[in-house]
């Protein structure tokens, strides 16, 4: 079984995110970045499947794929330290400012160049843009079924089975391989890289591809080719300082009074 896990290098969620004033894109260089936390669950899911399949990690490979600036190599490194076999980094200056549609195009072409994986895994969303649409777009481009937001994942022969916990029901979704699966943060507990894993990662193959390597024209991606445009952005004004009381036996009563005054009761 060949598994490709799509991962993203994102600005640290604890950092103050902002925009580049010149072109209204996310400022990805001014802040510290890291492997998106939600992608760790996808990597872990891939490693677990490879370990459990016949032949184990010797015959079942996990390749991580990312699209991003030079520093995105850090995300690949972390995935290799966790146990992934190989990494592919698509990096090209023309990619700057790409929207979700263009990102899915680059990922789709890279997946085709890697080969024909049995399974493509992703996290549920990135922790920066957090649109959560790239998995569906990628599945559409590759003509694959998508089974998303898996809280449980099993592969049985040529079939993938997931459990998704929805608002009204917990459902089982089944698809034939090849398929695209996105996983939630409920599916597993991602492993920390071991010392052995960190040493082994240094010898693992990482390929860096440009748009030309994928047969993509620079004009088909990036900010100028985006299908949407950020017209303006404004920093949200800080909320006006509210009234804060310390409970001295009547805190609940005061709270109820606030609710009555503001017509919530």
């Amino acid at each position: 079984m060949n598994i490709v896990v799509c991962i993203k290098y994102v600005p640290d969620a604890q950092a103050e995110l902002t925009f580049n004033a010149s072109d209204n894109t996310t400022d990805r260089l001014g802040v510290e970045g890291l492997l998106s936390e939600l992608d760790e669950y996808a990597i872990e899911a891939g490693l677990k499947l490879a370990e459990a399949a016949a032949g184990g990690v010797a015959e079942n490979t996990v390749t991580v794929l990312t699209v991003g600036p030079d520093k995105a190599a850090d995300a690949i490194k972390k995935a290799l330290q966790m146990g992934a076999h190989a990494g592919v980094h698509v990096s090209d200056e023309a990619i700057h400012g790409s929207d979700a549609a263009a990102t899915s195009l680059i990922l789709a072409e890279a997946v085709k160049k890697i080969g024909s994986p049995d399974l493509i895994l992703t996290g549920m969303a990135s922790t920066d843009g957090s649109m959560g649409v790239v998995p569906a777009m990628l599945a559409e481009r590759l003509g694959l079924p998508q089974v998303t937001l898996a809280a449980e994942l099993t592969v049985d022969g040529g079939t993938v089975i997931i459990r998704r916990d929805g608002d009204t029901a917990s459902v089982t979704i089944t698809a034939s391989l090849p398929a695209l699966v996105s996983v939630t943060d409920q599916i597993n507990e991602p492993r920390y890289p071991s010392f052995k894993g960190i040493m082994a990662a240094k010898k693992k193959p990482v390929e860096t591809w440009s748009l030309a390597d994928l047969g993509l024209d620079a004009g088909s991606v990036g900010l100028a080719a985006a299908w949407t445009k950020v017209e303006s952005f404004t920093k949200r004004p800080p909320r006006a300082k509210g009234q804060i009381v310390t409970d001295e036996g009547d805190g609940g009563t005061q709270l109820a009074e606030f609710l009555t005054t503001h017509k919530f009761v």
Binding site: V133, P135, A136, R141, L144, T172, F233, R236, I244, L259
Partner: protein, 319 residues
């Protein structure tokens, strides 16, 4: 006037409030056309007409409910071609976003997700407002290619009842075999709580680490206000409350009239899910908790003392 397609968000014909909100938004951009996919069309007709649907495209088959999102995207793509709408609106739920994602690629059209406002701009442009970076910024955006596809967050506008003709349109669509690749093979319904759905609720009361696993006071207070119950990631990870109730970056984003955070410190991941709430109240033992930076009203104190007292006072005030 051009049509605006609204994908009806429903459960077996029970139309969700978000649909009525989208019909209200659609009237700003053109003539609302409701697109109903799934089982239960008859039950939905009346309310769709009451909220201004001029046309009604019905595709009624239980099959659609079993094949996840791909067939719905195919139906919409065919309607985009035949009706040339000014925009396509759907709910900003995981399913809505996935349908939108597939539709965007099929029709080579720009997609904007999580809009909290949609207005008609100059020259027929559709201008959206979104809240990004954990609510730290507000962004105005437009679609520059194809048919604008917008997913709208629940509670973005107040639904306005306006009578519409809701004329049923007979349209033949075809669904490819490829779209039937993923199928729901089993459903285990959740026990109904009797409380409103989180993303639609006007009031949400959430509990966190400070509950130490006992949500009874949170639930009693929520019930006194007719509110939905949410939970922080810490409470969900500890197994105290189901993941479907999680508020925050990896759970649900809510934007109610009133949000009450009890025993929640207010980490950035949580704030991303509730920062756009209109009024915010917090109860926390720690006066330094970051959640107090957001509140309109805060109580520094023990939620197990403050909430029961407030519940009693609210129940008394209701008479």
């Amino acid at each position: 006037m051009a049509e605006v397609l609204v994908l009806v968000d429903h459960v077996d014909g029970m139309v969700r409030k978000t649909t009525l909100e989208m019909l209200t938004i659609a009237r700003r951009l053109g003539e609302p056309s409701a697109v109903f996919i799934g089982a239960g069309l008859d039950a939905a007709k009346e309310v769709l007409a009451q909220y201004g649907a001029e046309k009604l495209y019905g595709f009624e088959s239980a099959d659609y409910d079993d094949y996840v999102v791909a067939p719905k995207a195919e139906v919409l793509a065919q309607l985009v071609t035949s009706a040339s709408p000014a925009a396509v609106l759907m709910t900003s739920s995981p399913e809505g976003k996935e349908i939108a994602g597939r539709l965007s690629i099929k029709t080579e059209s720009g997609l904007i997700t999580d809009a909290v406002d949609v207005q008609a701009g100059e020259g027929g442009a559709v201008r959206t407002t979104q809240s990004v970076f954990a609510g730290g910024y507000t962004v105005q955006a437009t679609v520059t290619k194809g048919t604008p596809i917008i997913t709208v967050k629940p509670n973005s506008v107040a639904p306005e009842a306006v009578s519409g003709a809701a004329v049923e349109q007979a349209v033949e669509v075809s669904i490819s075999e490829g779209a039937k690749g993923a199928r729901i093979t089993d459903r285990k319904p959740r026990a109904a709580t009797g409380r409103p759905e989180l993303t639609e609720a006007a009031i949400v009361v959430s509990g966190g680490r400070g509950t130490a696993g006992d949500f009874s006071k949170i639930e009693e207070f929520a019930d006194s206000l007719g509110a939905a119950v949410g939970a922080s990631r810490a409470a969900v990870d500890a197994g105290w409350y189901p993941h479907t109730s999680q508020i925050g970056q990896t759970g649900k984003e809510v934007s109610p009239q009133l949000y009450v955070a009890a025993g929640i410190s207010g980490a950035i991941q949580h704030r991303a899910g509730m920062q756009t709430s209109k009024t915010i109240i917090a109860i926390n033992k720690d006066e330094e908790a970051p959640i107090f930076e957001l509140v309109d009203f805060g109580v520094v104190g023990d939620l197990f003392k403050v909430l029961p007292q407030a519940t009693e006072a609210v129940n008394k005030a209701k008479g």
